[in-house]
């Protein structure tokens, strides 16, 4: 489902974040991208989600080669992914429910249906009772769960998260990973970038280990 061959990413200024890496992620897998800070985890996540474009090599997602994708086709490709960003990117001027509704508004779902699905997604992450709150009123763990609800509300085939447990205490982090694990168990492909090695023993995911832009 996600196939990379000789994938490289060089940023303006010459920094090479990824150097000729090749891998394959099949549908339904749970994959951890690990490595030290600056190893290229975030870059890889952004390439997969077509937020950034490869410098060379090919990256094929759902049969589409991202390097050759037309600009106008990118939004539709992104809708296949549920993204949980490192900085969450929640909108603090609107309610929890409205944050989760955004992906559904983008695809033009009727409002009633959108509300119903957003509430279902909030229920899955245990935030249904906070639907009217503003994100600022939520704890760190709750904000992360809100970000997950927004990522899954459009029923993506791939869930991608960048350091989802970064700033959380162990208890909250466990909750978050349990949620990802639950989605994996119902068949969603889950890709998580994390520097935290402790979870590997617990979930036995496939692991892509990066070191200075190379795959180990």
């Amino acid at each position: 489902m996600i196939v990379a061959s000789n994938l490289s990413k060089r940023y303006p200024g010459g920094f090479e974040a990824l150097k000729e890496i090749s891998f394959e992620i099949t549908a339904g897998q749970m994959v951890f991208i690990t490595g030290h800070s600056g190893a290229g985890k975030t870059t890889l996540v952004k390439l997969i989600a077509s937020i950034e474009r490869p410098t060379s090599g090919s990256l094929v997602v759902n049969g589409q080669n991202l390097s050759a994708l037309r600009r106008s086709a990118i939004p539709y490709l992104r809708r296949n992914f549920g993204m949980v960003f490192q900085d969450q990117k929640l909108l603090f001027d609107r309610s929890v429910l409205d944050n989760v509704m955004l992906p559904l508004q983008i695809v033009g779902l009727p409002r009633r249906e959108a509300v119903r699905r957003a509430q279902a997604a909030l229920d899955k992450v245990g935030l249904l009772l906070r639907e009217k709150a503003k994100p600022i009123a939520l704890s760190g763990g709750e904000q992360q769960r809100l970000a997950i609800a927004r990522a899954v509300v459009n029923r993506p085939t791939v869930l991608i998260a960048d350091e989802p447990t970064g700033n959380l205490d162990t208890e909250s982090a466990t909750e978050i990973l349990e949620i990802f694990s639950a989605f994996h168990q119902v068949g969603v492909t889950v890709v998580i970038a994390t520097h935290d090695q402790n979870w590997i023993a617990r979930y036995h995911p496939n692991v892509l280990r990066l070191d200075h832009g190379r795959l180990l």
Partner: protein, 299 residues
Amino acid sequence: MNAWFIQHRAALASAFIRLWATPLNTLLSLLVIGIALTLPAAGYVLLDNLRDLGRNASGVQQISLFMTLDASKKDVGEIEAKLRAAANGKWKFVPKEEALKRMQKSEGMAEIVASLPRNPLPDAFIVEPANTEPEALEIMRKEISGWPKVAHVQLDSAWVKRFDAFLKLGKLALWMLAGIFAAGLVAVTFNTIRLQVMAQAMEIEVARMIGATDAFIRRPFYYFGALQGALGGLLAALLVAGALSLLAAPVGELAALYGGNFSLRAPGVVEVAVLAALGAFLGWLGAQLSVSLSLRKFD
């Protein structure tokens, strides 16, 4: 309901909400747009009324046809037949006796008329052509001059021509004024939208990352610009109508002093609709330019 319709309705709703959310900003923007549109709109109404005045003013578009003094009843009949054949507007025959009587009625003329040994006035026709274009009037004057027993044909065409030239000049000035204010309106919308894009940078960035198309991002801004422009147009119509109603009484008084019953014609439904549509179009244009420029930095 398909996705396209839902998204457009949502964009329109969000434009309304944004206008409503900052009432003071909205009011100021509408005032700027409204006043910018009021000046050319008022100019248009003024010219429109002047044109009406030009059409209605009696004596302006008449052709006076004076027969020779020796013209007989038969000659008069012939001219009448020719006028009927030309079938161009209406005409009125003024026999020399009637002309004399009218003259007697004029103040200070009765004694002079009484002292005349015989009636010095000719039979005359007053023709009011249907086609009042200056060129057409001139052609008609030439034609009538050639008819038998016609001594003189008088057309106050110089006045008509001057008036026409004045209207043309006014129209040109109005177009230039409208052009300048249209550019102003586009600039106002441009700036408003630019500030909005900046304020919503986060929302735009997130929406893009999770699969929003360019059209989805732009749509609410287009609706906002168009809506703001349309409301500004309506405000302009309101201002013009208000000014006209204030002017109505003095203009009526003035017209009465000149013995006329001229009244100002207020803009109709079509004109108001055109003004709103024009405002909407210019607002949309400003939004289009602004969004295209502001969204570049998100690529």
